[in-house]
C-alpha cells in the first residue's frame, strides 16, 4: 500500500514538472497557429503566420543551415585528427590541451565574440561576411566534437587495433581511414549532431558578430520578438522547433548506439 502511494506521488510530481516545462512550449506553438492570440482558439487556426515568417525570415533560416553544415565540416576536419592526436600524445599535455579546448564553452559567448571583434573587426570584408560568424561557431562547437570522438576512441582500444593493422602492412593512411575512423563512427555521429544542434541554436556569439545582412535564425527570433506581432514570433519559434527537435532525438539515438558498442 505504502509503495503504491509513493508511486502515485512520484508520478504526479513528474507529470507536474513535465507540465510546467511543456505548457509554455505548447502555448507558444498554439500562439503561432491561432488567428488572434488575444481572442484565443475561437478566432480559428491558421498557417498565415508561419507563411509570413517564411517571407520575412527565410534567409535567416537558410543562413543558419549553411552555417551549421559549414561548422560541421570544419569541426569534423579539425576535431577528429585533434582527438586522435590527444589520444596518442602524452597524458599531461593532452589534459592541458583538453582543458584549453573547453575555454570557449566556459567563457561567456559575448566575451568570445568581443575578442573576435577586437582582433579581426578591422578586416571589413571578413567582418561583414558569414564566415566571421562561422569562426565563432567553430570555436564554440569544436570541443563538443573532440570530446565525443575522444571518449569513444578511448574505449575502443584504438592503439592496439592500429598496431594490428600496421603488422598486416597497412600504412598510416590506410589505418586511419580503414580502422580508426570506422571504429569511432558512433562518437563522430554523436559529435556531429551536437555540433549542428548547437550551431543552429547559438545566440550569444552570433548576436555580437552579426550584421543586418548576416542574421541567423536565433538572431532573427530575437528581432521578431522585439518588433513583430506575438503570433509571428511564435510561428518563428515553431519553425525553429521543427528544425531542432529531430536533431535532439537523433542525439539521443546516437548516444544509445555508443553505449551498445561498449
Amino acid at each position: 500500500m505504502k509503495s503504491r502511494l509513493r508511486f502515485v506521488l512520484q508520478l504526479s510530481f513528474t507529470l507536474l514538472v513535465c507540465l510546467f516545462m511543456i505548457v509554455p512550449v505548447a502555448m507558444s506553438v498554439m500562439a503561432g497557429l491561432t488567428e488572434n492570440y488575444f481572442v484565443g482558439l475561437e478566432s480559428g487556426l491558421t498557417l498565415r503566420w508561419v507563411d509570413e515568417v517564411w517571407h520575412l525570415y527565410a534567409d535567416t533560416i537558410w543562413l543558419s543551415i549553411k552555417l551549421a553544415l559549414a561548422c560541421l565540416l570544419i569541426t569534423t576536419l579539425i576535431g577528429i585528427p585533434a582527438a586522435y592526436g590527444l589520444l596518442r600524445s602524452r597524458r599531461r599535455w593532452a589534459n592541458a590541451i583538453e582543458e584549453l579546448l573547453l575555454l570557449p564553452v566556459a567563457v561567456p559567448g559575448l566575451a568570445t565574440a568581443l575578442a573576435l571583434l577586437l582582433a579581426y573587426g578591422s578586416y571589413r570584408e571578413f567582418r561583414g561576411s558569414w564566415l566571421f560568424i562561422l569562426v565563432g561557431h567553430v570555436l564554440f562547437t569544436l570541443p563538443f566534437m573532440v570530446r565525443a570522438v575522444l571518449s569513444v576512441m578511448q574505449t575502443a582500444k584504438l592503439p592496439q587495433l592500429e598496431e594490428a593493422a600496421a603488422s598486416l602492412g597497412a600504412s598510416f593512411r590506410q589505418r586511419f581511414f580503414g580502422v580508426i575512423i570506422p571504429n569511432c563512427m558512433s562518437g563522430i555521429l554523436a559529435g556531429a549532431l551536437m555540433v549542428v544542434t548547437l550551431s543552429i541554436g547559438e545566440f550569444n556569439i552570433t548576436w555580437m558578430l552579426h550584421t543586418p545582412l548576416t542574421k541567423t535564425l536565433p538572431v532573427g527570433l530575437a528581432d521578431s520578438y522585439a518588433s513583430m506581432r506575438l503570433e509571428v514570433g511564435s510561428a518563428y519559434t515553431l519553425i525553429f522547433l521543427v528544425m531542432v527537435v529531430p536533431l535532439l532525438v537523433a542525439i539521443q539515438w546516437a548516444g544509445r548506439l555508443t553505449e551498445q558498442r561498449r
Binding site: K157, Q160, A164, A165, A166, L168, P182, N183
Partner: protein
C-alpha cells in the same frame, strides 16, 4: 609455405623516457624456421624484445635488427612483413570474421580470387569454416584468438610474433589452443617468436627458450637444457619448482652434509647450496634414506601430491609423491636423492647411475 628467415638482434637495448631501462644491450639469434619463446616474469623485457623485433618499437641507438641478411632496423612494422597475434586479440570490431582475416590480403591488393582462396585455406587451418560472416562480438574468446591467428598467417609473413596469446583464455581452452598453435607452427615452418610468462606454454611450444630476467637473457637453450641444467637459481626457480638445500659441510669421502642427512654428490664439491626438483626426490623406507624429515603439510593435486617436509633446512623440501599414500602431518619420512638429480648451476650434472635409473 614462405621461405623462413632468421632473426638477429645486435646490441639492442631500450631505455624509456624517464630513464627506466627495459632492456640491457641484447644479442639474440633466432634460427630460420625455429620457434623461440621469450619467457620471464612481467617487466623482464620479453615484450619489449618482441616489439623491437616487430618494429613497433626501436632499439636505442646502436642496436640493430636483421631479418636474414637484411637490416630492418629503420623499417616500421608495416614494412617488415611480420604477422602478430596479441593477448587481447585486437580484432577489428567493424569488420566480419572474413573481413578481419582478409584485411592484410586486401592491403596487399591481391586479386579477388586469390584472396578468396587464401581465406578458405587459413579458415580451414584454424578450424573456422562457416564463421566468415559472423560479427566479432558474436565469437567466444577461443574463436577470437583463432581469427587473430588466421589473420596473422593469411599474409604469409616471414616472421610470426605472439604476445601472450593465450593469457586471456581459461585453462582448458588454453591447453587446446596451445597444442593447435604448436601444430600450426610446425606445419608452416615460419620463424616464430612467442612471448609468455607461462612455463608450460614455453616448454610445449619452444624449440628454444630464452628465460629473461631484469632486461637480460638469463639462459637460452632447449626446454630440456633449461629445465635440467638451469644456468642459475633464478632460472631453476622460474621453470618448475626447485628445492634449495644448504650444504653444512663437505665430507672427506665426497659426501655433502645437509640438514637431515647426507648426499652422495662428488661432482658438487665446494658449493654452499645444491638444488633438486620435487619430482626427482624419491620416498623410501627410513633405513634406506639419504635424508630424513617430518611431513608438515600435504597438498593433494589429483595425479600426485605435494609434500612439504621439514628437515631443518631453511625452507621445507617440496616432494612430489604418489597420490594414494596417506602422509599425516608429523609423520617421519625417508627421502632418497640420487646424485644425478642434485645439481648446481655452476657445476656439470652427474651422469645417471645405471643401477639407480633401472630402479627409478
Amino acid at each position: 609455405m614462405s621461405s623462413s628467415v632468421s632473426i638477429t638482434l645486435n646490441q639492442c637495448s631500450r631505455t624509456f623516457a624517464g630513464g627506466t631501462t627495459a632492456l640491457q644491450p641484447l644479442d639474440l639469434q633466432v634460427n630460420a624456421g625455429e620457434t623461440l619463446v621469450l619467457l620471464g616474469p612481467s617487466g623482464c623485457g620479453k615484450t619489449t624484445t618482441l616489439r623491437i623485433i616487430s618494429g613497433l618499437e626501436s632499439p636505442d641507438k646502436g642496436g640493430q635488427v636483421l631479418f636474414g641478411e637484411r637490416d630492418v632496423t629503420a623499417l616500421p612494422i608495416e614494412q617488415r612483413d611480420v604477422g602478430m597475434v596479441f593477448q587481447n586479440y585486437a580484432l577489428f570490431p567493424n569488420m566480419s570474421v572474413a573481413d578481419n582475416i582478409a584485411y592484410g590480403l586486401k592491403i596487399q591488393r591481391l586479386p579477388r580470387a586469390e584472396i578468396a582462396q587464401r581465406l578458405d585455406e587459413v579458415m580451414r587451418m584454424v578450424d573456422l569454416q562457416g564463421f566468415g560472416d559472423r560479427r566479432i562480438d558474436a565469437l567466444s574468446g577461443g574463436q577470437k584468438q583463432r581469427v587473430a591467428l588466421a589473420r596473422a598467417i593469411a599474409v604469409r609473413p616471414k616472421v610470426l610474433l605472439f604476445v601472450e596469446p593465450l593469457a586471456a583464455l581459461d585453462a582448458k581452452l588454453r591447453d587446446r589452443l596451445r597444442i593447435e598453435i604448436g601444430q600450426l607452427l610446425r606445419e608452416l615452418g615460419t620463424t616464430a617468436v612467442y612471448v609468455t610468462h607461462d612455463q608450460n606454454e614455453a616448454m610445449a611450444l619452444g624449440d628454444r627458450i630464452a628465460v629473461m630476467q631484469a632486461g637480460r637473457i638469463a639462459q637460452l637453450g632447449t626446454p630440456q637444457e633449461i629445465y635440467h641444467q638451469p644456468a642459475n637459481a633464478f632460472v631453476a626457480d622460474f621453470i618448475g619448482a626447485v628445492n634449495c638445500l644448504d650444504v653444512i659441510s663437505t665430507r672427506a669421502d665426497g659426501g655433502l652434509a645437509v640438514h637431515g642427512g647426507e648426499l652422495r654428490a662428488s661432482h658438487l664439491q665446494g658449493v654452499s647450496t645444491v638444488y633438486c626438483r620435487p619430482e626427482d626426490i624419491q620416498v623410501v623406507p627410513l633405513d634406506q634414506a639419504d635424508i630424513k624429515g617430518t611431513v608438515v603439510q600435504s597438498i593433494f593435486l589429483g595425479q600426485s601430491q605435494r609434500l612439504m617436509v621439514d628437515t631443518g633446512n631453511a625452507s621445507p623440501l617440496q616432494i612430489e609423491a604418489p597420490s594414494r599414500q596417506q602422509w599425516p602431518n608429523g609423520s617421519a619420512i625417508g627421502l632418497a636423492l640420487p646424485s644425478h638429480v642434485v645439481f648446481h648451476p655452476d657445476k656439470p650434472t652427474a651422469p645417471v647411475d645405471a643401477k639407480e635409473a633401472a630402479n627409478g
